[in-house]
Amino acid sequence: MTSPSQPIIELRDVNKWFGAFHVLKDVTLEVAKGERVVVCGPSGSGKSTMIRCINRLEEHQGGRIVVDGVELADDVKAIEAVRRRVGMVFQSFNLFPHLTVLENLTLAPVRVAGVAPKDAEATAMALLERVRIPEQAGKFPGQLSGGQQQRVAIARALCLKPAVMLFDEPTSALDPEMVGEVLDVMSGLAAEGMTMICVTHEMGFARAVADTMVFMDEGRIVEVAPPAQFFDHPANERTKRFLGKIIGH
């Protein structure tokens, strides 16, 4: 376990290739407990790949990644332990369509953490309250709207009581009228002190919630700054150009 001063996530000189393609180049990033980090950057810049390395959905080839005191290497048990401490929310929800909402939330606690089914259900219902859809517990994911599905996915990622939450463009696949309900849930989590790394282009959310903005381009972290400075006085030319495009004039 980490002491408060130590970062809960540490990436040091991380390099990764897809075949000959150098997708992550000397990526170094520290995230403190309770810190809220928003990552942005152009498409293909390696944002997804970077956060997927943190729970080893992708394997890095150079450098070190340490999560909650555990270095990610070949040890399967260590990797599974890290995954239990790190929740992840995907752009495409990835709920299990053959299980009910409640079963989606109790699967990991019962099967991975060995929680008694009754207790797992109680925790799951509390989480569904928190994402404001307890009445959908008995339904199947296919019966819910996109926004509701993503809120269930957030609840599912929380069901093992993770120390860190990773979000990969959680609102990009949503109809515009549903973006707000998901961002609200995420803001709620942030307010409760959850450590979060969020890849998103929702700049309003970023400005309101982030402690740290990270800008990536072509596999490198180009700029790291608090939101006020990042949005109003970006240091890097590429950041300026990107913000100009995305915020629009």
């Binding site: 729970n55 959905l57 599974e80 332990a81 995954r83 239990r84 790190v86 929740g87 992840m88 995907f90 495409s92 990835n94 709920l95 299990f96 369509p97 053959h98 699967l107 990991a108 099967r111 991975v112 339904k139 199947f140 296919g142 019966q143 996915a153 599912r156 990622a157 069901c159 093992l160």
Partner: protein, 331 residues
């Protein structure tokens, strides 16, 4: 909307009906001609039609049976013996082929290079050699085994010799719980347990191993049809590879797997008459003997066809029902 006479003749609705009437008329005419022709020929050869022969004494022996049978029993009983033999070998074949096919299908997707290649080799070799040849091979292997006294003894209670396969059986006579009866070799014979003849074992092995190659491909395709995001979501929750396969991927793959799996199950039943080549008394083998003795070929074949149709439709209906049950619920 009164159509002019010319318009009526060229209307698609009229034409559609006309074509259907023509097809039905042609089928009826062909069927009528066949029936008439058959009846005339049977009369010329002096064969009485009808199923009366079923009650007569069969007069031939059957090498293995799940119910008591002697040559003094009726043809009907002989056919039931054959039907049971067909059903037993098909049912066990279906279960074993499903298990083996799933294992091989999963193995083909294994990250382990050697395991993957071996599974590919299995599939390619076995589904590209005619089943009949494979049956000859298994039968040859099984009958070339050593005698009972030198029987192979791979696992406790299991003996493999030229007498066939001897396995432990369950004894239900002792009350509520069955007792396991372990076979023992006494002198030249096995006492206790269940003896499966070399013919039965060869047919079962052939049907299972051949069909498993097809099922493996079906399972593989089914697994590949499950979106990668499902595995990633499960991984991110800390589930192990085995758990992900069991709890997340296979249940969803079932939707894709079941329809083609049904036709493989039907194939097992429909391939079982190849038994005749190695002398296993299945329904077709028994009915063949009956037909040779009575000359009632039309009735005998019709009966066997009706039974196979009935078996197949029942199996299809079961699988359709199961498929509906595992279908995903959506809006």
């Amino acid at each position: 909307m009164a159509a002019a006479p010319a318009g009526f003749w060229s209307s698609t609705r009229f034409r559609g009906v006309l074509y259907q009437v023509m097809v039905v008329a042609a089928v009826v005419a062909l069927g009528g001609w066949l029936v008439h022709n058959t009846l005339v020929n049977l009369e010329i050869r002096g064969i009485a039609t009808g199923f009366g022969f079923l009650a007569r004494e069969a007069g031939f022996g059957i090498s293995e049976s799940w119910i008591s049978y002697s040559p003094a029993d009726s043809y009907a009983r002989a056919l039931v013996v054959g039907l049971l033999n067909t059903m037993v070998v098909s049912a066990i074949g279906i279960v074993l082929a499903t298990v083996l096919g799933t294992v091989v299908g999963v193995a083909r997707l294994s990250g382990n290079w050697l395991v993957g290649k071996l599974a590919t080799l299995y599939v390619e070799a076995l589904r590209n050699v005619p089943l009949l040849l494979q049956l000859f091979v298994w039968y040859g292997v099984l009958t070339a085994l050593p005698g009972a006294r030198q029987a192979l003894h791979p696992l406790p209670g299991i003996f493999l010799s030229n007498r066939g396969l001897v396995i432990p059986s369950l004894d239900w006579s002792q009350g509520w719980l069955p007792a396991m009866e372990i076979p023992r070799l006494v002198g030249f014979n096995f006492i206790g347990g269940l003896t499966l003849s070399p013919e039965f074992a060869a047919l079962l092995a052939g049907l299972t191993i051949y069909t498993a190659a097809f099922i493996a491909e079906i399972v593989r395709a089914g697994i590949l049809a499950v979106p990668k995001g499902q595995t990633e979501a499960a991984l991110s929750l800390g589930l192990s590879r085995g758990q992900i396969l069991r709890l997340v991927v296979l249940p969803q793959a079932l939707r894709v797997i079941i329809p083609p799996l049904t036709s493989q199950y039907l194939n097992i039943a429909k391939n079982s008459p190849l038994a005749i080549a190695i002398g296993y008394p299945d329904l077709v083998a028994v009915s063949n003997t009956a037909i040779n003795q009575t000359g009632q070929a039309v009735e005998g074949v019709a009966l066997v066809m009706a039974v196979f149709l009935g078996l197949s439709l029942t199996l299809s209906a079961l699988m359709n029902w199961y498929n509906k049950r595992v279908a995903l619920v959506t809006r």
